[in-house]
């Protein structure tokens, strides 16, 4: 048995265990997508998400600052009137473009807020999958280091 299969089996075993323990839903357990999270560009991630460039949508409301005092912690939030099943956050100028993916089972509200790392000033893309189709909104967030102290 070659090393790759061994590694795959090992991680499958861990996820399988977690799934059977009811701790991670089994559908999700297989899905942390290496291809998506290691994408180095918007196109890489779009490809991994199985979509062409998503259509811009005015139905996505963003709550993000124009300037982040420190790129280590950039608060981002969004809500949408679309029937969101999945949301993806992409930072164009990060070494790995995809920052996070969020899944909304029945009953979950189409809203998310979290904090992300940004390597530098960059456009940030907010993708929403609704009824099988991907939409997006974008905003540039400026990142500054700030001074000392404070």
């Amino acid at each position: 048995m070659n090393q790759q299969r061994r590694n795959l089996l090992k991680s499958t075993a861990i996820f399988g265990l977690m799934a059977s323990a009811g701790l991670i839903s089994s559908a999700q357990a297989q899905e942390w997508s290496k291809a998506a999270f290691e994408g180095k560009s918007l196109d890489d991630v779009f490809k991994a998400l199985n979509t062409s460039t998503p259509e811009k949508s005015g139905a996505i409301s963003l709550n993000v600052p124009d300037i982040a005092e420190n790129g280590a912690v950039v608060p981002i939030g969004l809500s949408t009137t679309l029937k969101a099943e999945q949301i993806a956050i992409l930072v164009e100028k990060n070494p790995n473009t995809l920052v996070g993916q969020f899944y909304f089972p029945a009953g979950a509200e189409p809203f998310i807020a979290t904090r992300i790392k940004m390597a530098q000033t960059s456009p940030v893309y907010f993708l929403v999958k609704a009824e099988g189709k991907w939409y997006m909104a974008a905003k540039e967030i400026k990142v500054t280091l700030g001074g000392c102290g404070g």
């Binding site: 977690m18 009811g22 701790l23 899905e31 920052v99 909304f104 089972p105 979950a108 807020a113 979290t114």
Partner: protein, 102 residues
């Protein structure tokens, strides 16, 4: 077992607002320590929230989610809902915390 999460879950008008703070270094694998050595990547990959045993939210994190991750989501629910929040990281470490929605 890793440090506990700080979770707040309050219900209003049939919507439960859940805020989670997790204790995790979320290393990207790009940082060098004081000695100049690269700190290996180590981060939470999966987060799952169940209410009464049924999924209400899932997340996949990359290493660019900030250190000591913060997450806020909402779902249709009630006071007294039993929430089970669990995360799994790249080392296979996991943390599970439970609470009742107030």
């Amino acid at each position: 077992m890793p440090d506990p999460m700080r979770i707040r879950a309050t219900e209003k008008d049939g919507i439960v607002d859940v805020k989670i703070l997790m204790r995790h270094d979320m290393e990207t694998g790009q940082r060098k320590d004081a000695a100049g050595k690269t700190v290996p990547a180590w981060f939470i990959q999966n987060l799952n929230v169940k209410a009464q045993g049924k999924d209400v939210f899932n997340a996949h994190f990359g290493s660019a989610i900030s250190k000591d991750p913060f997450l806020n989501f909402k779902y249709k629910g009630s006071k007294g809902d039993k929430l089970t929040v669990s995360w799994l990281d790249t080392k296979g470490e996991k943390r599970v915390d439970e609470l009742l929605v107030s």
